[in-house]
């Protein structure tokens, strides 16, 4: 019992530490990549190649004055950043990083991910409401509508994978993707479930509130949206949550569609991290490339295009499984 507990605590500490470190350096990566895309340098003054920039940012944010607006709802205002940050971290509990490296393998792992993921929206909505500011409120309202709408397509897009595997456990899903088709193509779900994969990527981008779906914080119209009134570490928490979510979604996409840690030659954990890095790069690339949606376009696209496509994908997959079985 003691040994089991110690092992669990050690694994949790390792994963948390790595995720937080990755989050810090993800901010630098994003600024560097976007800088490159826009033909400028990005941060380069603090340390060699700007490598100490995240640390400088962290220290700066810690020492900034912490402001709570007079008319804000104090309790919820302080509570909201934590609500936003905690779900982003506990998603990693069920992600398999390697053949035997997973914190816990529960038989409804995928549902756990969605249950936890659906809570992140509370942080944003409550922050928007508690700030008692019109920009914040509008940002919060937008994010509530947007995230509930795209959660449907997100949930439906992975049903194809679940049907093909016959299990909700993420470990089972990765193990089912081992081996090759015709000795060349890896048995990754992205090949038979390509439509599901595309829907998953678009919806998860919307769930992350990142460009082109960053309407809750659209700076050209809402100042900064739901976090307009936040400062200091509470402000930083929202950003940490966004980047942690980005890593979580990339890890989930890797697990569901790209065979998780499966891959030849290199050690499994390296494969896993490489794939996750690829997805993160894709998210940054999309942000630097695409302009923001208009609100009606966003809703129309979610309900009239993605949702029917996701439903069609579920029906088609079910029919294909029945016919091929």
């Amino acid at each position: 019992m003691m040994g089991f507990l110690l092992a669990a605590v050690f694994k949790i500490a390792l994963v948390m530490g790595l995720v937080l470190l990755a989050v810090a350096y993800l901010t630098l990566l994003e600024r560097k990549v976007i800088g490159d895309i826009q033909v400028r340098f990005g941060p380069s003054r603090v340390g060699p190649f700007g490598l100490l920039q995240p640390i400088a940012d962290g220290i700066k944010l810690l020492f900034k004055e912490d402001i709570v607006p007079t008319n804000a709802d104090r309790f919820i205002f302080i509570f909201a950043p934590a609500v936003s940050f905690i779900p982003a971290l506990i998603v990693f509990a069920v992600i398999p990083f390697g053949p035997s490296f997973v914190i816990t393998d529960i038989n409804v792992g995928l549902l756990y991910v969605f249950a936890v993921g659906s809570l992140g929206v509370y942080g944003i909505v409550l922050a928007g409401w508690a700030s008692n500011s019109k920009y914040s409120l509008l940002g919060g309202l937008r994010s509530a509508a947007q995230m509930v709408s795209y959660e449907l397509s997100l949930g439906l897009s992975v049903l194809g994978v679940v049907m093909m595997t016959g299990s909700l456990s993420l470990v089972d899903i990765v193990e089912a993707q081992g081996g090759n088709w015709y000795g060349i193509f890896p048995k990754w779900n992205v090949i038979p479930q390509f439509l599901g994969f595309v829907i998953f990527m678009i919806s998860s981008n919307a769930e992350l509130n990142r460009a082109p779906f960053d309407l809750p914080e659209a700076e050209t119209e809402l100042v900064a949206g739901f976090h307009t009134e936040y400062s200091s570490m509470k402000f930083a928490m929202f950003f940490l949550a966004e980047y942690a979510n980005m890593i979580a979604v990339s890890a989930l996409a890797t697990t569901l569609f790209l065979g998780g840690w499966q891959g030849p030659l290199l050690p499994p954990v390296v494969w896993f991290l490489l794939k996750v890095f690829g997805f993160i790069f894709l998210f940054i690339w999309v942000r630097a490339t695409l302009p923001r949606f208009r609100y009606d376009q966003l809703m129309g696209f979610g309900w009239k295009v993605l949702l029917p496509l996701a439903l069609a994908n579920v029906m088609f997959t079910a029919a294909a499984i029945l016919i091929l079985a």
Partner: protein
């Protein structure tokens, strides 16, 4: 261990439910309700019903309550608009009687079946072999297929009804 967890979740669910009724601010009421859902989900996990637990959180805490909050925020309901509800003596008495009736009904309706009723074909060992989700799926789509489909039809009807009512233009 199990008892300690059960007591924690049960007390939390009860306290949050009471808090939801007594809170004056609609937002805090909604938050209390969300807390109740979490405590309930904890109870489901203790009963080895992981599927129900997480579906409960996804559907109620993740979707329905977000829409509740959305509406509360959209209408900008403030505590001042809602003077605290006052119950007269008669109202209190009636409430207590109704609560007692409900409790008795639950005890009579469910109690005997749990204690005396025959055991179903799914005990913990079979569940572990079969998987929680698979077992629920089997029962739902074999034994209860018709009620299940009927329920979905009712939901569909309600949805269409809501759309028709919302879209109707006043002449």
């Amino acid at each position: 261990m199990e008892w300690a967890l059960f007591l924690t979740f049960a007390l939390l669910a009860g306290a949050a439910a009471v808090g939801m009724v007594l809170q004056r601010s609609p937002i805090y009421s909604a938050l209390c309700l969300i807390l109740t859902f979490f405590a309930q989900a904890g109870l489901y996990v203790l009963l080895h019903a992981q599927l129900i637990a997480f579906v409960h959180i996804i559907v109620y805490a993740g979707a329905i309550m977000v829409l509740f909050l959305f509406v509360i925020m959209l209408l900008d309901l403030r505590p001042e608009d809602h003077p605290p509800v006052r119950f007269g003596q008669a109202g209190m008495l009636l409430g207590l009687i109704l609560a007692a009736l409900l409790l008795a009904e639950l005890a009579l309706g469910i109690g005997p079946r749990i204690i005396l009723g025959s055991q179903g074909s799914y005990d913990l060992e079979t569940l572990r072999m079969l998987g929680n989700t698979q077992a629920v799926g089997r029962i739902l789509f074999r034994e209860y297929l018709v009620p299940f489909e009927l329920t979905s039809l009712i939901l569909l009807t309600a949805m269409i009804g809501a759309m028709v009512l919302a879209k109707r233009r006043p002449e």
